[in-house]
């Protein structure tokens, strides 16, 4: 399991988990689950296009993720946010379907883009993932306070001189960046479990924002490690274990939070 060819997998997956934990915290806080779900799926089309043109997959992913994020931001000013997100997503997926019909790629390749292929990470791919990942995490940490304020109290943060619109844009760009890095490892359909399960669990366990973010990173890393180990042992796709792990994190978080409230204060549905 720790053979030389597996080292890349462990390193890449750990980086991915840290990014997902940090960015996911704000995804959960801002209630932006649908956006965080749509951007990776749409970016998948970019990867398909990149493989069609024979250019770097990461470039295709980044381009489509960014275009998708900005498209969602632009359209939500004019229509309901969930409708704008859904339609931006499907039009990108439609283009992806077109690209796929042009290529003669093996469906195994498509499968690994959608559901993740951690064992395929090469040494040359690790460096860009690490650098861009560091940029991503650094951006979130630098903007931690304004992002937090505009997420929790949009009105008072506007009064404090923080532009909510600009924060939203920055947030979308960060999601796009995080997406293009994590997609090849975990897969388009399941990054989102990693971005939402651990942070949601962390939020129901601790109340301080910084501690919650830290815990969310720890949980995300643990989820990915367990997923790699299990995937290595069973030879089943890693996506299955990541998806299940995300749900288990969330369920455990809810359970602990529920047990902690004393019976007298338990209200159904809270």
């Amino acid at each position: 399991m720790f053979a030389p060819f597996m080292v890349n997998a462990w390193v890449a997956a750990s980086i991915v988990a840290v990014i997902a934990g940090v960015v996911g915290f704000f995804v959960v806080l801002r209630g932006a689950a649908f956006v965080a779900d749509a951007v990776p799926q749409g970016a998948f089309a970019g990867a398909a296009g990149a493989s069609l043109l024979g250019i770097n997959t990461l470039a295709g992913l980044g381009l489509f993720a960014l275009a998708g994020s900005l498209g969602i931001g632009w359209l939500s000013k004019r229509a309901r946010r969930d409708v704008a997100t859904a339609l931006t997503l499907v039009v990108m997926l439609g283009v992806g379907a077109l690209f796929l019909s042009f290529t003669v790629e093996y469906s195994a390749e498509i499968f690994s883009l959608l559901f993740g292929q951690v064992l395929g990470v090469s040494t040359t791919e690790i460096l860009p993932i690490a650098i861009l990942g560091a940029v991503c995490v650094l951006a979130v940490l630098l903007l931690f306070r304004p992002l937090l304020m505009s997420s929790l109290a949009p009105d008072s943060s506007a009064a404090a001189g923080i532009s909510t619109g600009r924060m939203e844009l920055i947030f979308l760009v960060i999601v796009a960046l995080a997406t293009s890095l994590t997609l090849p490892v975990v897969g388009a359909l399941l990054i989102f479990s990693l971005m939402i399960g651990p942070p949601a669990a962390a939020r129901s366990l601790v109340s301080s924002p910084l501690a919650a973010m830290g815990l969310s990173v720890v949980l995300a890393v643990l989820t990915v490690w367990v997923a790699i180990a299990a995937s290595f042992e069973t030879n089943w796709p890693i996506g299955f274990f990541v998806g299940t792990g995300g749900a288990v994190c969330y369920a455990a978080g809810r359970l602990v939070a529920w047990l902690r409230t004393s019976p007298g204060r338990r209200v159904s549905g809270s």
């Binding site: 004019r78 859904a86 997503l89 479990s193 796709p237």
Partner: protein, 290 residues
């Protein structure tokens, strides 16, 4: 006139039996999606619709293992997932997206596993692409009665619950005060969405069925103001765009670069998106004038 028709409809279009099935199944799916979609958009449940669509992938990939019609899998998982989403508190707007996402993630994890088994244990290598992106021209005749049955059930749910659904979409509190069982209505609506999405999944593929559900309804709600008219308009727009997509896809046989046709789902989704953008723009012009 006839030359125009000949350009639009490539030779053999009306004689081809796969085209007949595609038009019939696509039309029914579009009709149901348009009607159900209006309520999806009104209730702000686009994400639930999308998640149910993704989850039907799980069912679809399971049926490839058992080699029964994927439609059973699409609809079956959709209904189960709707129940689970309702159970873990989908009513509170804040937690709703989160709960939806968690169910979706877990379901897709299972789908990954099933598809992997499809690819390794059976010889259906194309399962991933077929389930996710649809294959309208390969639908068999025998599916049509099933499609009709599911479509009628979804429409019946909406028809019976039309007024309570509308009321609880606008204001859950008012509806509850009027004696509407809001939660039950919400569950029934999710079931209707699940059925509609499973039909759309057969035609345009599971991950694109959101387009048929949300797109025409969003356009219609932009253009008309009463819910009744919007429902009818959404159904008409959905059917028109699906049929136009089928026509274009049939025409595209022989287009570069592959010469075996562009995917139907690409045309339908693109038409819907262009329609949506156009509706947004005309809406704005009208507001400026008014």
């Amino acid at each position: 006139m006839s030359s125009v028709l000949r350009v639009l409809f490539a030779p053999g279009f009306f004689a081809s039996s796969p085209v007949h099935v595609a038009l019939a199944v696509g039309g029914i799916a579009a009709l149901v999606s348009g009607v159900v979609g209006t309520f999806t958009v009104l209730r702000g449940q686009s994400y639930s619709g999308h998640a149910l669509a993704d989850l039907s992938v799980t069912g679809g990939s399971a049926t490839f293992l058992a080699s029964v019609s994927p439609l059973w899998g699409f609809a079956g998982t959709g209904v189960i997932a709707a129940g689970i989403m309702d159970m873990i508190g989908i009513r509170r707007p804040r937690g709703r997206d989160l709960a939806t996402g968690i169910v979706r993630g877990a379901g897709l994890g299972l789908a990954a596993l099933f598809l992997y088994w499809d690819a390794t244990s059976t010889s259906t290598t194309g399962a991933t692409v077929t389930i996710l992106f649809g294959s309208m021209f390969t639908i068999s005749n025998s599916v049509v009665p099933l499609v009709v049955a599911f479509g009628v059930s979804a429409l019946a749910i909406i028809a019976i619950l039309y007024r309570p659904l509308l009321l609880s979409s606008v204001s859950a509190d008012v509806a509850a005060a009027r004696g509407v069982r809001v939660r039950l209505t919400g569950l029934a609506c999710l079931l209707a969405i699940a059925l509609a999405v499973s039909l759309a999944a057969v035609t345009v593929g599971a991950i694109l069925s959101t387009a048929l559900l949300v797109g025409p309804a969003a356009i219609a709600l932009r253009l008309t103001s009463t819910p009744g008219r919007a429902t009818v308009a959404a159904a008409l727009i959905a059917v028109a765009m699906t049929w136009l997509g089928v026509v274009l896809a049939y025409d595209s046989f022989g287009w570069p670069p592959s010469h075996d046709g562009w995917p139907v789902s690409f045309f339908i989704v693109t038409l819907i998106f262009l329609g949506f953008v156009a509706a947004q723009l005309t809406g704005r012009v009208r507001r400026v004038r008014g």
